[in-house]
């Protein structure tokens, strides 16, 4: 099947639109999260999302709507924990992550075991995205872009040096809360589209690749977006060609890009020194 034929299908179009939007959002937020050493927030929140989805399945509520408030509250919990000087940010993420898994398992057991629905959320299937979810992706994409645009330099200052940011008049608490809440929203969206497994990878790998080769903040954002979109579109296409799971292929492509960026960085530093 050639590419033109491939994108003529409605479900492929929805998969690509949602996939590309989710890839863009996770890449951009990921840059800030990686630099703040909060990159595992995707991992933690997606585990919480699993509990949320389980609750939704039990209560017979649309899982995504049950998950959203639970994940948002947990993201605020992460913010609170990471403000505590005695707890490292990565430990805070680990704590919330374990809590999410434990609760998810118990709730799932109460609901009568891991059913196929829950497994679907775990591994996600980008090829089953509904039209409504595509619309939701567009809306959340717009919100994230607007927030990043309005708070661009305040975000950079907060990531660079919080004490400086505060004495430059930036409300750093507000900025940090914005960052974790946006992450929460994106995780819930991503869980429904690409699956829990993939969220973390999308937040961490493209920004890390971009940080290897770009020197300016804007270039890092742009590179991360390009890498992420390329891997997602490529992964979905390859999944068709070889009949393999798209999530896994998307991760593999991202890893290949990371290796190439690492090599470029290595080659460059060899030249300078």
């Amino acid at each position: 099947m050639n590419f033109a034929e491939f994108i003529s299908y409605g479900f492929v179009q929805r998969a690509l639109i949602s996939g590309v939007l989710v890839s863009l959002i996770t890449a951009m937020l990921g840059v800030f999260l990686v630099l703040k050493r909060l990159s595992l927030i995707g991992d933690s929140l997606s585990h919480i999302a699993l509990s949320g989805v389980a609750v939704g399945l039990i209560l017979n509520v649309t899982p995504i709507f049950a998950a959203l408030p639970i994940v948002m509250l947990s993201s605020l919990g992460i913010f609170k924990l990471s403000k505590n000087k005695k707890i490292y940010a990565d430990s805070a993420l680990g704590i919330v992550s374990s809590a999410g898994i434990a609760l998810g398992l118990i709730i799932a057991a109460l609901a009568g075991g891991f059913n196929t629905d829950l497994m679907g959320f775990l591994f996600g299937n980008i090829l089953t995205v509904t039209p409504a979810e595509t619309v939701l992706s567009v809306i959340i994409f717009a919100i994230v872009i607007a927030c990043l645009y309005f708070f661009y330099n305040a975000l950079i200052a907060t990531v660079f040096d919080e004490h400086f940011a505060k004495t430059a008049g930036v409300d750093t608490d507000k900025i940090n809360i914005l960052l974790v809440l946006l992450s929460a929203v994106v995780v819930v969206l991503a869980v429904k589209t690409v699956g829990i497994m993939l969220v973390s990878a999308l937040i961490i790998i493209p920004p890390t690749s971009a940080l290897q080769i770009a020197k300016k903040f804007k270039s890092v954002l742009i590179c991360a977006c390009i890498f992420s979109v390329f891997a997602t579109v490529g992964g979905v296409y390859l999944s068709f060609l070889f009949n393999l799971p798209p999530s896994a292929l998307i991760i593999i492509l991202n890893l290949i890009i990371l290796c190439i960026c690492g090599l470029i960085k290595y080659a460059k530093s060899g030249k300078i020194n």
Binding site: L35, K36, R37, F150, F151, Y152, N153, A154, I156, A157, V159, F160, D161, H163, F164, A165, K166, T167, A168, G169, V170, L211, A214, K215, K216, F217, S219, V220
Partner: protein, 263 residues
Amino acid sequence: MNISEIKNLSFSYTGQTVLKDINFKIAEGDYIALLGPNGSGKTTLIKLLLGLLPSQKGKINLFGNTLQKFHAWQNIGYLEQKTTTPRNMPMTAFAVVRLGLLSTKKGLKLFNKEDNKKTISLMKKLRCYSYKDKLFSELSGGQQQRVLLARTIINEPKFLILDEPSTALDSSSREEFFEIISTLNEEKKTTILLVTHDISQVGKYVNKFLVLDKQIIFYGSKEEFCDSKEVTSYFGPYTQHLIDHLHTEGTCPMPHCHSEEVK
């Protein structure tokens, strides 16, 4: 108007009292050297003054407002003792300096051509222009300190707070550094609170000394400092050394310095 006023300020970190009953005022145009041994609470005092630590007891005023009501951050320039920035932060020296203009921005805080020009001219003046396109994280300690000083003064703050800014600098850069900030004090009436151990180098510029060791040991003019019993009894034999320093620089105008020396 007082730039800052601190009343009955006390502070402790989980049980350990670090500051006790601190009272002082900073007047417009003051250039204060804040002295004290390591661990005497200098950094803590400054962080409280700027609201970077939650205040526990006492009152802090900045430009006539309580800290909660203070929003005029464009008047403040703060250079922290230990700056912690992400190791892999993708920011050039230029971008770091320009970020200092953030406090002057209202609404959409985006930078324009004017800001870029200002950044370039200041970087030339502070002689950090040659590495403007290098990554901040890949500069040497001294180069980073120059860049951070540029970031701190680019918004032409009325009140400059510098916490041991010269530690990473070699001695000629140090001299230059003190000259730059002293010029700001002389020409623009910038109020300066400077934590330093380089008393010999700043002695000729400052007009007040604040000696801290969990409480205020001494606060007053340079003239009083040279002649103060508190200072003499606090520093002990070291006092003469301090005063000699000031004296060598020709900055201790009181005849008492001479008579002390004779004794």
